[in-house]
């Protein structure tokens, strides 16, 4: 039952997307704008089709730096959130650093990272982490803190150590929040990776866009953007699918649709 309604949802979404693309195609046919301004979807697909290896190679690089940045954000973010919950002092220090970091424009910082780390994958991963980690830390810290006080009393009655409370009560309690943070972080990690590629290096979809733009190759820019959109969407739904597998017990998974209608 649930899986058939999910299949319906996917089919509906695809139908809407295909419809929009067809409208775009028709509009380009009808108004015939110069291809350098707006190419037709069919031209973009043809571009992808003509050099699949090229796009795959660069998409692969972007995917790897994105996933590395995302993975590091999750690991580091959870560790920082635990430290924040464990100590008031750590909470102050980490919150301040994160807020300062978050208010600096990453685009302006990117060149520094290139100076420090070179033009390989490292600066891209670093920028992805800078963008993605904030939502992980904020959401996980909230999840670790908002534990039912009675559950903590129960743990104390059973003489549980702080680590055991963290592992058995706080951490599972924070998992739904972790997934909320991860859904935001995965998109930010992708943006971070692209920002890094814009500034330096010779690989990745960001690099493809930069080069194609320099040559006024609008079709190629759109082709790269298309691949980027597909990667971002797939990554998001991958996180969501993982969430469904990991949290069958959570209310948000049990009663998800039509809630507002009831």
């Amino acid at each position: 039952m649930a899986s058939s309604s999910r299949a319906q949802g996917i089919a509906g979404t695809l139908a809407v997307l295909v419809g929009l693309i067809l409208i775009w195609e028709a509009a380009v046919l009808f108004f015939a704008p110069p291809p350098i301004l707006l190419p037709a979807p069919s031209a973009i697909l043809a571009e992808l089709w003509s050099s699949p290896r090229y796009f795959l190679r660069h998409a692969g690089f972007t995917l790897w730096t994105t996933l590395a940045g995302f993975g590091l954000s999750v690991v580091l973010g959870v560790a920082l959130a635990v430290a924040m919950v464990a100590s008031r002092w750590a909470d102050r220090v980490i919150t301040t650093i994160l807020v300062v970091m978050n208010s600096l424009p990453k685009v302006a910082l990117a060149p520094l990272f290139v100076i420090w780390m070179g033009t390989g994958a490292e600066p891209k991963i670093a920028i992805a982490v800078m963008l993605a980690i904030f939502s992980i830390v904020a959401d996980v810290a909230l999840g670790l803190r908002s534990v039912d006080p009675d559950a903590l009393a129960l743990a104390r009655v059973h003489r549980a150590t702080a680590w055991r409370i963290l592992w058995k009560v706080r951490f599972p309690n924070a998992l739904p929040a972790l997934f909320v943070g991860m859904k935001v972080a995965i998109s930010f990690a992708l943006v971070g990776a692209i920002v890094g590629e814009f500034v330096g290096g010779s690989a990745g979809l960001g690099h493809v866009i930069l080069i194609a733009q320099g040559q006024f190759d609008t079709v190629r820019v759109f082709a790269a953007l298309f691949v980027l959109g597909v990667i971002g969407t797939l990554l998001f739904y991958l996180v969501e699918a993982t969430e469904r597998l990991a949290l069958p017990w959570h209310v948000s998974q049990r009663n998800q649709h039509g809630v507002l209608a009831r």
């Binding site: 009655v157 150590t161 209310v251």
Partner: protein, 257 residues
Amino acid sequence: MGLCIEVRDGGKTYASARGPVTALAHVGLEVREGEFLSLLGPSGCGKSTLLRAIAGLDPLTAGTITLRGAPITRPPERMGMVFQRDVLLDWRSIRDNVLLAAELQGLPRHAHEARAMALLERFGLGDFADRHPWELSGGMRQRAAICRALLCEPDILLMDEPFGALDAMTRDDLNLELSRIQQDGGRTVVFVTHSIAEAVYLSDRVAVMSTGPGRVVEVFDINLPRPRPLALRETPEFAVHVAAIRGLFSRLGIVKD
């Protein structure tokens, strides 16, 4: 019977945003080894506060609480607690929720699995061991919470209005089961309730508390024979105890005749 828990001149003042709140003042209470004692009183008289202090969760701000002569400064060993809400963890099956009591203490799970299942069977939850809390009714959930409290064979069981949120029929059911458990003997129970009938039915003694500030006013001996069938509540002997306690409440101005 020896003395298990003793509260002497206990007081508790909460510091709140609107100044200090005195929840308890000059509380004296003795809980004997192996007895079932109820704390009975109106809302806000400090029953939970007293119970949490006995549990070693929130210390008193005046007076002393001792367990077999030693001051209670943190939750003692071999103590179980049941709260008004069942506090089951949604991500654990019922079996795993019961086993949580052992896991939190760092005791090996496998050593307790058999007992967990036996307890669940006894409370009619055998077929629900692998279900999750949200798949159970309120009464079943509270039964699971009692199983969790009993898992590590506590010799002191503290219960804070465990049946307060249940309907009358489920409540009767659980009262009967609780009084059966008490028959196994060897366990000291401190039970918080609003209900005079429930207190009389379950207890060896009932400590009546009053507000303004919270204190123990009088302790009633309930010398009704055990085992106690539910029908005991319709007997004249039972009514005598209920009337005595109600009389005290009306003298205190807590209930009107």
